[in-house]
């Protein structure tokens, strides 16, 4: 089956930042987490998918269609939730719905009312009077009420309390019971993704460091810990983000078979969390010993 989203060699240079040859593929029925530190290129990627900024090169296909030539058709089936509130502050939720709904052919008023009830959102309240969490819920209600197949979310959980974050993840999991749908979810809160993401795409400095299923990534990587004497050059060449201290070292590797054959049981191996993979991949090797 055609992927719901395919990004191929996407590049865009700004004055002080470059998104460089980003590629990712999201099949239908899955959630992909787009992770990376602040300023890594997550929002730029999402904006390019939404055609909000121009690209220098590359292709984006949503539902198998080019996102520039079939823009209107594609956006009928995309739900979006952004990191900030970009709605009119002085209008009520009802009025904002009146502004947004007529643009969608498949707007489902009953579904929207249901989401307002479920999310405890008063229709007559002004947007400026909503809390951060309520604004995100309202964005989500709008995004889910026009039968969107692809949901793009840019840092929807940042700045939200754990209870609401958990609620949001449950809602997304519920949505994914329909296997025609797909969700691309950018965040730097990796614990959220570990709960719900099927695929992970890690972006750093505008480049994709890895993109794969979360299960494969977990299998591919190992945290290696051991005494410093083991750190001779052939071992170092297989490790990333080596941290050394007075007692030994710890590092990440994706060359698991090679490192195990070199170090066998002289080292300790652990499966890393997503957070650890990102931290070790993103940092430079260094000595952190106390002097």
């Amino acid at each position: 089956m055609e992927p719901i989203l395919a990004v191929q060699n996407l590049s865009r240079a700004f004055k002080d930042f470059k998104l460089d040859q980003v590629s990712l593929t999201l099949p239908r029925g899955y959630i992909m987490g787009l992770v990376g530190p602040n300023g890594a290129g997550k929002t730029t990627t999402i904006k390019l998918i939404m055609n909000l900024i121009r690209r220098d090169s590359g292709d984006i296909f949503v539902f198998g269609l080019d996102n520039r030539t079939h823009q209107k058709e594609i956006k009928q089936k995309i739900g979006f939730v952004y990191d900030e509130n970009y709605f009119y502050e002085n209008v009520t939720l009802e009025e904002m719905k009146q502004i947004v709904a007529p643009f969608y052919q498949d707007w489902d008023e009953r579904l929207f009312r249901k989401y307002l009830m479920d999310f405890d959102l008063p229709p007559r309240k002004k947007i400026k009077d909503l809390s951060r969490g309520m604004k995100t819920k309202f964005s989500l209600a709008l995004a889910l009420s026009h039968r969107a197949e692809l949901i793009l979310m840019d840092e929807p959980t940042s700045g939200l309390d754990p209870i609401f974050r958990s609620e949001l993840l449950e809602i997304l999991q519920r949505e994914m019971q329909d296997d025609r749908k797909g969700i691309l979810f950018s965040t730097h809160i990796t614990s959220d993704l570990e709960k719900i993401a099927d695929y992970i795409c890690f972006i750093n400095n505008g480049q994709v460091v890895f993109t794969n299923t979360w299960d494969k990534i977990r299998e591919e990587y190992l945290i290696v810990k051991g005494p410093k004497e083991l750190l001779h050059q052939p071992v170092r060449d297989l490790l990333q983000g080596i941290r050394e201290n007075d007692f030994g070292f710890e590092a990440l590797t994706d060359k698991t078979d090679k490192i195990k054959s070199l170090l066998d049981d002289r080292a300790v191996y652990e499966h890393p969390s997503l957070d650890q993979i990102i931290v070790f991949t993103g940092r430079r090797d260094g000595d952190v010993s106390a002097h």
């Binding site: 939404m50 909000l52 009928q76 947004v100 643009f103």
Partner: protein, 220 residues
């Protein structure tokens, strides 16, 4: 396109009420003064300005371009909607001002103001098209806060042009150029106003294409 205009009406409905109150105030104040001849124009023009520029400023303030461009609509349609809404809001302002004038006309009392006429409509359209034609590309370009100050000055300049023109014409009626225009106005009563309208429509179209070019190349 209709959705875009409806959106602006939702956003500016308070301004419509304010415009109604403002036009009542202007007609009451000016019905018997030097401004009496142009009170309809001034009221309709000021009301159009408040609604049109108010809508643009609301969008600017809330950075709503991001949401608008995420909806199933093209950038070309967004620009077209904005320019079309100028015409719609001007028409609404003229209707409101005209109805207020009609009510004053019908109610017996001291405010027996004349009815709105075609000349009022044409001159208001000329003024609004000129203002919007210059202002809208600056908003699409998002030049900066100072542009709001520039637009206020532009508004005031256009606001007082009709009365200045009338005063100048009265004072300099013997001058060959003014006399020539007066003869032309008598000979072909609609020629001057319709010429002005054509020129402003041309400016409005040029302005649309400039705005479109700016908006198509914009990053959000």
């Amino acid at each position: 396109m209709f959705q875009l205009i409806k959106r602006e009406l939702i956003l500016q409905k308070k301004m419509l009420w304010f415009g109604l109150a403002y036009s009542i105030f202007l007609l009451l104040v000016f019905h018997n003064s030097n401004f009496g001849q142009v009170a309809y124009i001034m009221a309709a023009y000021a009301m159009s300005y408040m609604i049109i520029i108010g809508a643009v400023q609301v969008e600017h303030k809330n950075n709503t371009d991001l949401v608008l461009n995420s909806l199933p609509i093209t950038r070309q349609e967004i620009v077209q909607g904005k320019y079309l809404s100028v015409l719609v809001f001007t028409a609404i302002a003229l209707v409101i001002v005209g109805v207020v004038g009609l009510i004053f006309h019908l109610i017996p009392g001291p405010f027996n103001y004349r009815l709105i006429n075609f000349y009022d409509v044409v001159v208001t359209m000329i003024a609004v098209l000129f203002l919007a034609g210059i202002s809208l590309p600056t908003y699409f370009k998002s030049i900066g806060q100072w542009i709001q100050v520039f637009n206020v000055f532009l508004f005031i300049f256009i606001f007082f042009v009709p009365i200045q023109v009338i005063e100048y014409t009265v004072k300099n009626s013997q001058q060959p150029f003014v006399a020539g225009l007066a003869r032309l106005a008598r000979w072909q009563p609609w020629f001057l106003s319709l010429s002005g309208m054509v020129v402003m429509l041309l400016l409005f179209f040029i302005s649309y294409f400039i705005s479109l070019r700016i908006y198509l190349n914009k990053d959000f």
